[in-house]
């Protein structure tokens, strides 16, 4: 059950590119992955043979396009363990999915003084929508802290969850790679009567997703970090919760009837899909699901864990105290995301120097400024690996770090 990375690489034409004369070493999949030929082919074929607007025309193309779009929804629903395909909603990205929850569920269920519990580890996408509601409704926000090892501090979970209406938690940290004990948090939240929103952006691309096993009530993820196209995000929600939520965006497709003095919303899932949806992107996402399932999510997870172990060992053996790797030291608790500081070189400078060897790593605050403050840094460099990376890529990163050491010595 191992990945044949050499064969996988052949599916990603972009990996043949050379930058500054070097082969591309793409270590930024946590920001956006690359996509295999099968995904772009699926989208191109759709545009070249089938495209028409969905849910409207009665002609053959429109029926085929609708069948493809709704077929992809059903496929994605099964893939994450949803109870029914109408529990899957498409948005333009996971940020919109999470905003949908805040603005629809939040406005319908929260009043001034109600409490939402988040974590210090959240991406801005699961922070700012709730901060906006704090301004708009006067809700109160509470946060689970982060330990020095980059784990969620659950020592006061029961205390903090008490009286809370919703708990929002990221399944995997986009900065530290920490895999969070979502089930444990969800159980405590449910015991306290709270709804559980899980940001699965960094989980779904890398390991099998079962929304019910996680204990989620609402679960968001995005296409472009899981070999799919940009422009499509997903929200899964338990049917009864989605049913009780008012529409988010208004427009075509989300209505059953419109009068001059009011409207009646459509049924699930279309109630939440105003306007022409990202049809080709959803079809591309389905192709990404097929591709990942072909590899096997367990094999994907094992591959990334093995690369994480290799990276932790290689970088610490070679650079010792010169490198600080954030997050849990145990690869079993991490996804393939590694934030680090190298000497006292600013991550921007580091990333710039690594680019000269075509080593692509992200530098900055990774849209998680509260977490950066908790870690006492303003920025980190972040390398992240996926199905098309191998130990050679980690070696290339390690070699390129030596260039930075030379330049800034």
């Amino acid at each position: 059950m191992t990945l044949d990375v050499e064969r996988i690489k052949k599916d990603f034409a972009i990996l043949d590119r050379r930058v500054h004369g070097h082969r591309l070493v793409f270590l930024d999949s946590a920001a956006s992955s690359q996509r295999p030929q099968a995904v772009t082919d699926a989208m191109t074929t759709y545009y070249e043979t089938t495209h028409a607007n969905v849910h409207r025309g009665v002609y053959t193309l429109a029926e085929e396009a609708t069948a493809r779009y709704e077929g992809a929804r059903a496929r994605i629903a099964r893939w994450v363990g949803a109870g029914a395909s109408h529990e899957i909603l498409f948005a333009k990205n996971v940020t919109e999915s999470l905003n949908l929850v805040a603005q629809s569920w939040g406005r319908a269920n929260l009043r001034a003084g109600d409490v939402v519990l988040l974590t210090e580890m959240e991406h801005h996408a699961n922070l700012v929508p709730w901060l906006m509601l704090k301004d708009q409704l006067g809700i109160e926000l509470r946060y689970l802290g982060v330990t020095d090892d980059g784990l969620l501090d659950l020592s006061d979970l029961e205390e903090k969850v008490d009286g809370v209406k919703l708990v929002g938690v990221t399944a995997v940290s986009n900065v530290l790679g920490t895999i969070n004990p979502v089930r444990r948090i969800a159980d405590a939240a449910h015991a306290a009567g709270a709804v559980v929103l899980v940001d699965g952006t960094q989980l779904t691309p890398h390991m099998a997703t079962h929304v019910h096993s996680l204990g989620a009530d609402l679960y968001g993820f995005t296409g472009h970090k899981m070999l799919g196209p940009t422009g499509v995000g997903v929200l899964w929600g338990r049917e009864e919760i989605l049913e009780a939520m008012p529409p988010f965006l208004g427009g075509g497709d989300m209505i059953r009837d419109v009068r001059l003095d009011g409207f009646t919303p459509n049924e699930l899932p279309w109630k939440f899909e105003a306007g022409t949806p990202p049809i080709a992107e959803v079809i591309g996402l389905e192709a990404a699901v097929d591709y990942l399932e072909g590899l096997g999510l367990e094999a994907v997870r094992e591959h990334e864990r093995s690369l994480t172990r290799y990276a932790l060992r290689t970088l610490t053996q070679r650079y010792g105290d010169e490198i600080t790797i954030h997050g849990p030291p145990d690869a079993d608790l991490r996804s393939g995301v590694m934030s680090f500081l190298f000497r006292d070189i600013h991550p921007h400078d580091l990333s710039q120097v690594l680019d000269q060897r075509a080593v692509c790593v992200r530098a900055g605050h990774h849209c998680a400024k509260p977490l950066m403050r908790r870690m006492g840094v303003s920025a980190t460099a972040r390398a992240s690996w996926y199905v098309y990376n191998d130990e050679g890529d980690i070696d290339a990163l390690a070699d390129a770090l030596a260039d930075a050491a030379d330049l800034f010595s």
Partner: protein, 166 residues
């Protein structure tokens, strides 16, 4: 393809390793202004003491990459002792040097000044950019332009606040 030597000139690395005018000033009387680069988290804290229309003292705090820090350091050395008018002209000249790609889209700091002024500032004989010329290579790395201009935008803001405060 630009090489790193265009970006990391020795004088830049020197200012990065040995930043000039690092520190704080009592505020007030000095003006304290913070500047942020929201994309990368770099921040600069500028203390500006203007007396009789002249920059009596300037100190720089904050943290950031070699480009933002060296630019701030060079800026502090360049503006100390200058009149406010000279400093504004220097800001225009520097931003003109940095504005190859984003000249009219920036919408910050120098936004209200006209193009002709900017060009006049860039060509003014009294405006020797001196060491600051070393930062010219940054424009070949468009993502880093905002690193170089962060402290300058903050300085422009500080001057505006000084003027508004009378």
């Amino acid at each position: 393809m630009p090489g790193l030597e265009d970006l990391y000139r020795e004088i830049i690395l020197d200012h990065y390793r040995n930043p000039r005018n690092r520190g704080e000033l009592p505020a007030p009387p000095a003006h304290r202004v913070e500047g942020f680069n929201p994309l990368c988290g770099d921040e600069v804290v500028l203390y500006l003491d203007v007396e009789d229309g002249r920059v009596a003292d300037v100190k720089i705090g904050g943290q950031g990459c070699s480009i933002s820090q060296s630019s701030a350091s060079m800026m502090s050395a360049a503006v100390k002792g200058r009149t406010v008018e000279e400093v504004r002209a220097l800001i225009r000249a520097f931003k003109a040097m940095m504005s190859i790609h984003e000249q009219r889209l920036d919408g910050d700091g120098a936004g209200e000044e006209g193009l002709e002024e900017e060009e006049a500032g860039a060509g003014g004989p009294e405006l020797k950019l001196g060491d600051l010329e070393a930062l010219r290579g940054v424009v070949k790395f468009p993502v880093r332009i905002k690193c170089a201009t962060l402290s300058w935008n903050t300085l422009a803001q500080a001057l505006d606040e000084c003027a508004a405060a009378g």
